[in-house]
Amino acid sequence: MIAAALSRIGAIARKEFIHIGRDPRMLIAVLVVPVMQLLLFSYAISFDVKNVPTVVLDQDMTSASRAYLQTYRSTDFFNVKGSIDGLASIDDVFRRNLAQIAVVVPAGFGRSLARSEKAQVAVIVDGTEPNAAQLGQAYAIALNQVYGNRVLAEWGDRQGIDIAQAGRLEPRVRTWYNPERRSADFLIPGLMVVIIMIVTVQQTAVTLVRERDLGTQEQMMVSPLRLPELMIAKLLPWTFLAFVDMVVIAIVGIGFFGIPLRGSVVFLAVAAALFVFAALGMGLIISALAPSMESANIIALLIAFLPAFILSGFAFPLESIPPFLQGVSYLFPARYMIIISRGVFLKGAGFAELWPQLALLGGYSVLVVVIASVLYGRRAAR
């Protein structure tokens, strides 16, 4: 009995691989698109703000002002494109997107410093791109603080006072796990989850609808094949391909983008298997409900894409979205898997720390496959 069931499952799994192998679009969608998405997203959605185009306006023209502006040139954060000749030009430069930050050193800057008075500079930020603007602003403030401290130290030296001895509070902020705060480290473990979700949900959503459209489902009904066998056989090839995708993404991420893999690969693989099963189960639910291939495709896109991006914590911290949507996010498995993926890759976390997410994922995948079987069984009712 079991041998016969395994033979039937094998027959369907083999047939699925033939379908995939004969359909170039499918092959591209499964094997090429994920890598392209990885490269595209990693470069395009980079949250690293570096080389912010900057212009400077030196109205002081002293050695002090030149020394101050030189600090902007000597850091990677700012890319000083050139000097402008008047305040009116800032608007023009911003409008033509030549720069996002303008640094203005007013006349009298050098004189004020020489007199040990408070000197003022203006840092003007183009706010139309808030992310870059915010970070640019933060860098500018930090840079000015450092510069200010240097000026203060020099003043102290001249006055014969050791500033370091004066009581001062100096915050030292450290970022753990990703000390350079490189966004690739943050993005790629999450991106892996998002890509797997899109590939798997989309493909399984279509696969059962296709059997119905082709009429081959009726031929299966007159065979000894049972529904769970069909479900398992349909999930196997996609689980395998999802793992291939995951391995490729991990290799590209580690080898090419230099992200760390600190935790256990085995734990990650177990969690990933549960996640893939849950995602495939979602696809099967869509397949059971969708009236046609087209609608299955669209529903899959909506279900897989939007929640994967917005409600998974992949791009935005879940704490920053409205409470209602936070609640909705619990309904999608990507949320749990992204925590696991980042935990394993970046923090070296394992079962001891991540078991709640693993348990939720396990429960989720069982529930989803059961719902899919029930729905499909009802739909296929003779």
């Binding site: 016969a4 033979s7 039937r8 094998g10 027959a11 369907i12 047939k15 033939i18 379908h19 004969r22 359909d23 082709l214 009429g215 081959t216 009726e218 031929q219 299966m220 009904m221 007159v222 065979s223 000894p224 094949l225 009712a381 003779r382």
Partner: protein
């Protein structure tokens, strides 16, 4: 619950199925004896497909039951399916798989052992003239070849009963003849065949026929029995203007029915009604030229045209 009649391949009792407000199959009783080539005839929408799908266990009856070799399609479909081969009206193979791969796949999920799969696939492809197309993708086959592939696939597990839903619809005449030759071979191999068709001429090749209309089966029997239901004599009249001749004959005394069949007018004369000369006289008396009237053999086409007309008058 087994059917008492062991000689029956199919024993359907008061089978019904509705789709929304449409009564697709409306109380069908049907007995098909073993070894029969049973033709299920009727126009599109008569309910033939619905009936066959219920017998094939892919659609459950709304009410009633059917026994296939004594097993209920409702309660014991897992005992029914191994003994039947079901060929749906639509092409239902994988278009991207080759002929050989399709046969292999469906035989595997049917549980045919590997060694037998090879032997049977080879011999079926050979006998159907598909051997040279074994490695061609199903989507690149002609209509006739597609139908033969489907039939080959339903034969791989050597079923005792074949349920064929309009296997020759949309197939060229040569392939149709070829197809019926294969059905003849199946009969020789003591298989039972239930075949639905909208083509009346194919009924002549069946051992038994049933005429289905609006979800019911009003007439059944051997082809000769069905033809014997037609009383009187059939004449064929050729005329330069067949429509005018038809008009002249429709209401003539002693004429049960008259209708156009291609270019000729077919006239059914009641028992003791007008003979060939009398009919010729009637037409000419109406001022219509007629070249010839000769008695004709009552074929299935004529029989069904008459029976349909008769039912129309009854209701």
């Amino acid at each position: 619950m087994a059917s008492p009649a062991d000689s029956l391949a199919i024993d359907a009792r008061a089978l019904c199925r509705t789709f929304g407000a449409v009564r697709a199959v409306d109380g069908v009783d049907l007995e098909v004896r073993r070894g029969a080539v049973f033709g299920l005839l009727g126009p599109d929408g008569a309910g033939k497909s619905t009936l066959i799908r219920m017998l094939a266990t892919v659609l459950s009856p709304g009410s009633g039951d059917a026994f296939v070799f004594g097993d209920s399609v409702v309660h014991a479909h897992r005992r029914v399916t191994p003994r039947i081969g079901y060929m749906s009206q639509r092409f239902s193979m994988y278009p991207d798989l080759t002929v050989a791969e399709n046969l292999e796949f469906f035989a595997r999920i049917r549980g045919v052992p590997t060694a037998q799969r090879r032997v049977r696939a080879a011999s079926l492809l050979e006998s159907m003239g598909l051997a040279e197309f074994a490695d061609r993708q199903a989507q690149h086959l002609s209509g006739g070849m597609k139908q033969k592939l489907m039939l080959a696939s339903t034969l791989m597990h050597e079923p005792d009963l074949l349920l064929l839903d309009e296997p020759t619809t949309g197939v060229d005449p040569v392939s149709r003849r070829e197809f019926w030759r294969i059905i003849g071979d199946l009969r020789a191999a003591e298989k039972t065949v239930l075949v639905a068709t909208p083509y009346m001429d194919e009924a002549e090749r069946c051992t038994d026929i049933a005429f289905m209309e609006s979800g019911r089966i009003p007439h059944r029997g051997t082809p000769d029995e069905v033809k014997a239901l037609v009383p009187g004599t059939l004449f064929e009249l050729t005329a330069p203007d067949p429509r005018a001749a038809l008009a002249a004959l429709s209401d003539a005394p002693g004429v049960t029915s008259a209708h156009l069949y291609g270019d000729v007018v077919r006239v059914l004369s009641a028992p003791h009604g007008p003979d060939a000369d009398a009919l010729l006289g009637t037409v000419r008396a109406a001022g219509v030229a007629a070249s010839e009237v000769r008695p004709a053999h009552v074929d299935m086409e004529a029989a069904f045209a008459f029976l349909a007309e008769q039912r129309g008058e009854d209701s």
